[in-house]
Point group: C2
DNA sequence: GCTTGACCTTGACGCGACGGCAGGGTTTCT
DNA sequence: AGAAACCCTGCCGTCGCGTCAAGGTCAAGC
């Protein structure tokens, strides 16, 4: 048989068979005088087994191991390992499909799914179009997505945002958008913000959660200079209280 | 943030993030004076979404489509397509695991699993260590593995192998191993073999099944010259009766 | 004899999502 | 001042083939 014939017989492509020769999975057969490969029935039997094994999901290396069974009992080992692997993949896919269906059934809010704790927090927060509040929501969503803060923080923040006075604080922060860094409103706003934070929140701040080195400066870069001054003081205070 | 920091924050490797820049999934951020990439919070939010999507199994191209949602409703389409894809994969894996478990529970006969019809046939065949019979078993197993013959053939062959006289035929074929091609035993053996084949078998031979071009010569190459003569005559007769 | 078309040959590149390494520079800590 | 831990660019490797590219071979039809 020529390569195309044996390929059709066992249901492989000629390219696959040549590949098997190339990687040493199947020895090169004799050649006809014209250089064509001449396959025997034994080759077909071998290739049929290779096909069955690869269709089961074995890699070519594993197929080689199974076929070159010197030990006689190796195959079972390989196959059991493969089954475990497939089981993992199956569970993996099931979980992904699960999360996918959750995504599909949800309203398209474009921010993606959030944890229940954060969802509750956002629903609870008063409606405001303050840019600072929007930034805060973004940052909280990021914390949620990266799991860098514990769920506990969101529930604790719930008691904060329930206070209608928080909107006023955001507005005072917004007002500093164009202000110079030595604006006199900075210090009192920082103090009022600190005062608004419930005591338990300090304890809940993880030592090395969001506070990855460099995160702080990136966060401050989001704000205008005077605003950054306020936020920076807040974060400094947080980190000091957290360590203390 | 530097690249290592944002990578730790969103749970990716620096290499992956640079790869995303490379393929245009995420624009290159500003650089610091020393050439380091300077990431913002917005980048982190973006990367977090990328991570979630790739973890769901989307390709980077698909992620790009979903993120660059100009149409607003594209994502659902992509996600549904993905779900269908995952469903296919899941079914695929389940089938493989099914066949794998069948393989594992079977006794290790080293020839792999065979169809029930062939298994019955082999169990039914008389015990003999005739080399010709061994070849025949190999060829039948190959036909089974490649689905090139119908199951029907095996059941029809059952009536043939049940006849104890068949063993004698195999032995007569074995005896020709060293014989010259003009051995006088050739013609009568071929005739007796033809006579032993039940009539229904001729009708069951598929027109273009095993009889791929070149298969015949490969099969004949398995035998000694005188034996090949016998087998060749048999096959010629088969093909003529099949066509007639 | 000549063409056509279906085969065959070797060899090299492409894919997808990065990992790893080479060969350098920068920052920071000690 | 040296070492550790970062950062940079760029290129090769993975896996199982598919897909050209640039030919050589063979049977059939004119």
């Amino acid at each position: 048989m020529r390569i195309g014939e044996i390929a059709a017989l066992v249901g492989l492509t000629t390219r696959a068979i040549r590949h098997y020769h190339h990687v040493g999975l199947l020895p090169e057969p004799e050649r006809r005088p014209n250089g064509y490969r001449a396959y025997s029935i034994r080759d077909a039997v071998l290739l049929a087994r290779v096909r069955r094994l690869t269709e089961l999901g074995l890699s070519l290396d594993e197929v080689r191991d199974v076929l070159a069974e010197d030990a006689g009992r190796e195959p079972a080992e390989v196959l059991e390992e493969l089954d475990a692997d497939l089981a993992r993949q199956e569970a993996d896919i099931r979980e992904r499909r699960c999360r996918l269906s959750a995504l599909l059934s949800e309203p398209p809010d474009a921010t993606g799914p959030v944890s229940p704790a954060l969802a509750a927090l956002l629903a609870q927060a008063p409606r405001t179009d303050s840019p600072s509040a929007a930034k805060d929501r973004d940052h909280l969503t990021l914390m949620d997505a990266t799991n860098s803060g514990s769920q506990e923080i969101f529930t604790l923040l719930g008691t904060l945002v329930a206070d209608p006075a928080v909107v006023e604080l955001y507005e005072r922060l917004d007002a500093l958008a164009e202000a110079p860094v030595d604006d006199p409103r900075i210090a009192p706003l920082a103090a009022d913000l600190m005062a608004a934070v419930p005591e338990e929140l300090f304890a809940a701040i993880p030592e090395d959660g969001v506070v990855v080195t460099g995160f702080k400066e990136a966060l401050l870069a989001e704000y205008a200079p005077a605003q950054a001054e306020v936020v920076g003081r807040l974060m400094d205070a947080f980190m000091e209280r957290g360590r203390g």
